[in-house]
Symmetry: C3
Subunit: 275 residues, 3 copies
């Protein structure tokens, strides 16, 4: 297609893949084959293929915590898609610096929350899809080809009509039941067993501003835990809190596994008190 503008190699957008396909089956490789068939110069990065099966919320969190760490104009494909083949729509989300491609099942909810100006397109331009389309693998048939064409410079609005009734999952925000209390919950257990909560560094600052002289107390499961700056600042195997590299309040056990050792799971409440 001569009409397509080709970027010089170094300007080719990165395409990332986030799926629940695991690493055994060749599904993500087949998506890559599809992308390279359309754009041989594509740059593809696996974000993860180990999203818990069918867990749209987890996929939404993982892409929400990661997308901004990639170069501007990166294209993020997310496929956790139990509704594939049904009437759920395939979509393209465009924000100022990034693109997202996947099913309209709420998997981009954190993107919508964090970016006031989202353009969401219902992918309908079938000439950009795979010729033979299945009802079970839109990662290969729709999302990968659209990402590949987008990476070659096709503009977003060529892929379908803009929509506004896209699906949004509610993610719990921390609340302040009183002026001096912040209540949040655990969002994600990471590979080290750290429990990442939905309380961000800014939330702590807002709370602290209420009583600048009082040290905040961190409460988990009815017990107070100490706040640290980094993991190896402690020597025992107790439960501690810190602000992690993504600016979330996180519970950890140094050289341990907070989730297993203290029975912490997604949804557990986390409190911060100024008393």
């Amino acid at each position: 297609m001569d009409a397509v503008r080709r970027y010089p190699v170094e300007n080719i957008p990165i395409i990332t893949l986030t799926t629940d396909f695991g690493n055994k089956d060749p599904l993500s490789a087949i998506m890559k084959g599809t992308i390279f068939s359309i754009n041989p110069q594509a740059m593809i990065v696996d974000l993860t293929h180990e999203i818990s099966k069918y867990n749209v919320r987890e996929a939404a969190l993982v892409i929400g915590m990661s997308y901004h760490e990639f170069p501007s104009r990166s294209i993020h494909i997310v496929v956790t898609d139990p509704g594939v083949g049904s009437s759920r729509r395939p979509i393209l989300v465009a924000i100022e610096d990034y693109y997202f491609i996947g099913p309209d099942n709420g998997v981009f909810s954190m993107i919508y929350n964090e970016n006031e100006r989202c353009k969401v397109f219902h992918l309908t331009a079938e000439h950009y899809f795979r010729r033979d389309r299945s009802a079970t693998f839109h990662g290969r048939d729709i999302f990968a080809p659209v990402a590949a064409w987008l990476s070659k410079g096709i503009a977003s609005d060529n892929f379908g009509e803009e929509i506004t009734d896209f699906m949004k999952l509610r993610f719990p925000s921390p609340s302040m039941p009183t002026r001096t209390a912040l209540e949040g919950e655990v969002l994600y257990i990471d590979t080290f067993g750290n429990a990442i909560t939905n309380i961000k560094a800014e939330d702590l600052k807002t709370l602290q501003a209420q009583k600048p002289d009082v040290s905040p107390r961190f409460m988990v499961k009815g017990k107070e835990i100490a706040f640290k700056q980094y993991y190896s600042q402690v020597e025992d195997r107790g439960l501690y809190a810190l602000i992690n590299s993504m600016n979330y309040l996180e519970l950890f056990v140094y050289r341990g596994h907070a989730s297993r050792e203290f029975g912490i799971t997604v949804g557990d409440p986390m409190g911060v008190l100024l008393t």
Copy 2:
């Protein structure tokens, strides 16, 4: 080597890797290092490194179901090779659009089955191999270097003599014991627990042509199961069948794991009846 023709970047063939090395040990990375040492512009895609250990049949299936999803001229390396170092031959298989490199242990049987014109070369041109060769890691010592040289434009017949007595594993084909019955079996359990059978969409069409007015009945383990178009077309956790994205008849549980929940394993029979 100035005599080697260099492709412009976008024409460099993709090299894929399919192994039973797992993702912990640095074995596949070492193969990549070897390839990049010979062809710094190589494009390498991991197809999978989680083939069940020593399971040549499974590797044969996975490459057989995937190879055609890559750009023309892609080079597929497959290393499930318990016989490495013995007299089993290292081979290069060339079909019209693809190349395959690996041991002559049957791992390319599905390629032979599906492609009438296969050229198979016994890899003997040692000047294309690693200088120091081990008897335990031909992925690094023979397959990766040959793939790298092939990706630089060296023609297939430079790597060794053509052979015709290559090894072929028998894969069970579906049979029609009567005009109105099709008998197949489960070939592979995928990451979602779906059971992929050896019955293809064409087989169903052939059967259906016998009695166009009768709806086929799908029988597994003595029970009849319903046929669907896509996964979320059902709401319960029953066992259903559909034609998957690779055109195979597949058994599934929506948001579940058919293999675990219904005790289905590789080799289990699957029947389709027109009665």
Copy 3:
């Protein structure tokens, strides 16, 4: 930065990643995003992300056994870093053909052992780091950006002062308690259950030279085992020894799992006798 010398594509050094991050969380992908943000032409290879959590010795072994299999000038990032955020220093190690970037916690001990001329730099040039730096993820904040700038041609000594008091872990060397006995131990269990010892092919040659006419006897857990050239040279499921592709003496079970089937673990002694 126009002042930075750009390599032609094929000369861009490879950057490899070795971490204990696992393959689920997006941590290694975020490091890649960081690298591509600085050097869009970077070539990145995952060496492994499945180092046992916090296991600096294992990471040291894996990188020590692999680094030389990559093209000259490759940059190896290793992040097994429980001390991140503390006073442990981030370092860059330069040897004749390779670079290494990671924490000064002993993870490069095998590099120091094998290379007499190592230059080790304490990474302090903050203008090459991520602008917002966390105390918990130096892989993203320091190691990835430094690797990216290095891959663009910035010279090693721009990143900080050379140091000589870097940390070195002691790895057990095989010993010769008598002229005719060699004592080593198991260093690593690989994905096939093979037990890789610290006895190298050269060590066996040195021993053999003492009594050229006597066949060496290989002793594990009080039993003698036979020496083979390659795995499929045996047909039973016994325990055997061979020299593996990295020139280490290795214990194996053909089509089996030596570690599980014979209870062999890291640290187990291995003897070779000329009697």
